[in-house]
């Protein structure tokens, strides 16, 4: 079965190990949530999968539909179908969203083939309508002077345009008010289906009211310490992360 398969992944930043023997299999078509307190390695997982050079892989393997992901350049991972929605998307001054997406679409075509402008804009406008975005939005410079909500919506728009096979949403809910949260969730739900696997990384249960996961994983100190259905998120919300540190973490070490 096609999946994003993470096996015994170990990742360090400098000398410091962050992910410790992390394993998770995300089947295509499912939405999994990873929850956990700050500093437990959630964002490291996201950045390491996308190929950020500050994160050193010290062990393990990752397969995207059977293809080796680690060792590839970030752009090659993107072309294989991996998408990372950033927690803090950075500003690219002077580059309009439309031009950026066109360049990204172009990068996915074989050499000598050009993005057809008419179809591109038709698709773009369709996705923007679905996200209730103003048409003027994509003429703005990428993330420049954007509010937190605009940045996240821009990430969702990019995801919808680039049509990945697996999307990692790194704390997409941070800094969002409830209306923005709903729009972001709506975007993900629109894309949800047998062709997409989604890994939702979040600190709070709140986002999962709108993006209902098939599975929930609780992360602690660089690995998954408990997995369950969507009800696990409620249990975690009710018991707090103390519960993880006191009850789940010690058992995981054995």
């Amino acid at each position: 079965m096609p999946s994003l398969d993470i096996r015994n992944l170990c990742v360090s930043i400098g000398e410091k190990p962050i992910l410790k023997d992390f394993s998770l299999s995300l089947p295509k078509g499912e939405v999994h949530a990873i929850m956990g307190p700050n500093g437990t390695g959630k964002s490291t997982l996201a950045k390491a999968l996308a190929g950020h050079e500050d994160y050193t892989i010290t062990g393990g393997e990752v397969f995207l539909d059977g293809e080796l992901l680690l060792g590839l350049e970030p752009e090659a991972r993107a072309k294989l179908g991996l998408f990372l929605a950033f927690q803090y998307p950075c500003e690219i001054p002077g580059v309009s969203i439309a031009n950026f997406l066109r360049a990204a679409s172009q990068a996915r075509l074989p050499e000598g083939q050009e993005v057809a402008a008419v179809e591109f804009y038709k698709k773009l406008h369709g996705k923007m309508d679905a996200l209730k975005m103003d048409r003027k939005f994509t003429a703005r410079s990428l993330n420049e002077g954007f509010s937190g909500g605009e940045r996240k919506r821009c990430e969702i728009l990019q995801m919808m345009m680039l049509e990945p096979k697996y999307a990692i949403m790194d704390e997409t809910d941070s800094g969002l008010d409830i209306d923005a949260l709903k729009i972001v969730a709506q975007g993900v739900n629109l894309m949800r289906g047998p062709e997409l696997g989604v890994l939702v990384i979040t600190h709070y249960q709140r986002l999962l009211d709108y993006i209902v996961p098939d599975k929930v994983h609780v992360m602690w100190d660089g690995r998954i310490v408990k997995s369950g259905g969507k009800e696990l998120a409620f249990e975690l919300e009710a018991k707090g992360y103390d519960w993880v540190s006191k009850e789940l973490a010690p058992s995981a070490k054995n």
Partner: protein, 468 residues
């Protein structure tokens, strides 16, 4: 669509050379005899010959400006340069008459094609002389003159002589003196009263010979209410040894006239490009320099406008890209000399790898003037940690009721920005060229489309070369 505002040029486009026989060759080195040879070959009037000889003396008496400029200038050996090379002095009026080897060169550079597409007139200079020069017939009927300096000073002395060397005196600097001594080629343009030339006139400067110096001289006069856009492009093959390009460009905008002068400099990385450019703006006229410096080993160029008449406007928009082994020392000068004059300078520089860019600005608004305005923005973008940028703005504004605004910024393309773009599938080079294009985007919008498209490709190629 916004895509069209991106810049594109091919840096390798000019890197080729066909063997050429020269009928006229002033030999190597610079002596009074060199000047005589040039004047002789061109059949110049005695006053022009005298002008040249005087200039040679001034050139010899002036020191290299290394007390403020780069020591790299000392690498130029004036005794090893060839100052005049041509196959003949008369430019052809049709491409068919252009000697085959030269025609081949310009065809490869796409000049005849551009002429057909969007130009009102073209002059194509090969080393010292124009091989081809032609203007649309309708324009000559309107009285527009578009010739080289030899023909201009000979056939239209009454028009050009009064302004020749007046905007930029021979003694302005060492290189304006050098040019005045050995100038050959370039464009002399006169646009009569009220004539608005809709399509651009273009000159293309090609250096083909090694150890050669190209010294074109341009004088553009727009009479009252006239309008003209002039574009120049330049290339040279990559030689082992240094090549010198030292032009003098004078613009005269009479009352209510508009001149726009656009340069896309794409010299190979062994060319010393030392150019003096200045315009004289009379009452209610407008002079605008659009200046892109992409190639060369060292470019020193500070286009300026003397705002002589009330309500005259001057503008310099410039983009410089300095890659490894290159130094772009560019800027602008705005000399306000009348009330209610306005000037605008926007300079953007990009330093890649060990490339170095320098901005030098000079803005003067003296005390007795009223309601003058200047806006200066200079922004630098650094691509790698070892890139270098320097800014030397000199703004002297005195008197009441004059205003000046100055903004400068230095930014860097961060690793996070590059990673963000790569995570969307763009290669590192594509990500960099996208950020560079983003950086200059607002300026490029001011450019004619044809240049935008070319410049973009250049930047992409430069970025490709600059990453692992």
């Amino acid at each position: 669509m916004d895509q069209a505002t991106q810049l594109e040029i091919d840096r390798e486009k000019g890197n080729f050379r066909y063997e050429t026989d020269y009928a006229f060759d002033a030999g190597v080195g610079l002596r009074p005899a060199t000047v005589d040879y040039i004047a002789e070959v061109k059949g110049e009037a005695p006053w022009v010959r005298e002008f040249r000889h005087k200039a040679l003396k001034i050139f010899e008496s002036k020191p290299m400006p290394t007390h403020w400029a780069t020591k790299d200038l000392e690498a130029i050996d004036f005794s090893k340069i060839r100052y005049y090379l041509s196959q003949g002095q008369k430019p052809s009026r049709t491409w068919d008459e252009v000697p085959a080897d030269i025609k081949k060169t310009f065809e490869r550079l796409g000049i005849p094609e551009q002429e057909r597409k969007f130009l009102a007139g073209v002059e194509a200079q090969f080393d010292s002389e124009a091989a081809y020069s032609r203007m649309k017939e309708g324009l000559s009927k309107l009285g527009v003159i578009f010739v080289g300096p030899t023909e201009g000073l000979k056939e239209h002395e009454e028009i050009f002589r009064p302004w020749f060397g007046k905007v930029i005196p021979t003694s302005d600097n060492k290189f304006s003196a050098l040019n005045s001594a050995v100038f050959s080629g370039g464009s002399f343009i006169y646009v009569p009263k009220g004539v608005k030339v809709k399509q651009p006139l273009q000159a293309y400067f090609r250096i083909n010979a090694e150890n050669f110096g190209q010294f074109e001289r341009t004088l553009i006069i727009a009479d009252e209410g006239a309008e003209v856009t002039y574009m120049e492009g330049c290339t040279a093959p990559k030689f082992e040894t240094a090549t010198l390009h030292s032009a003098v460009v004078e613009l005269v905008a009479l009352k209510g006239a508009k001149i726009q002068y656009i340069t896309v400099q794409n010299w190979s990385n062994n060319v010393f490009n030392l150019v003096t450019k200045r315009g004289l703006a009379h009452e209610e006229s407008e002079i605008r320099w659009i200046d892109c410096n992409i190639g060369s080993r060292l470019t020193m160029k500070y286009p300026g406008v003397i705002l002589k008449g009330r309500r005259a406007r001057g503008e310099v928009l410039s983009i410089a890209l300095a890659n490894d082994g290159q130094h772009q020392d560019t800027g602008a000068k705005m000399i306000h000399a009348a009330d209610e004059t306005t000037s605008n300078i926007i300079a953007k520089s990009i330093s890649v790898g060990q490339g170095r860019s320098t901005y030098r600005g000079l803005v003067q608004i003296p005390k007795h003037l009223k309601n003058c305005k200047n806006n200066t923005e200079c922004d630098a973008l650094l691509i790698n940690a070892n890139s270098r940028t320097d800014t030397y703005p000199a703004i002297t504004v005195r008197g009441e009721g004059n205003s000046v605004q100055h903004e400068a910024s230095v930014s860097k393309v961060s690793a996070e920005q590059i990673f963000y773009m790569r995570s969307r599938g763009l290669s590192e080079a594509a990500a960099m060229s996208l950020s560079v294009n983003g950086f200059i985007n607002d300026l490029v919008r001011e450019f004619p489309m044809e240049y935008s498209v070319e410049l973009k490709r250049l930047i992409e190629l430069e970025m490709e070369g600059s990453v692992g």
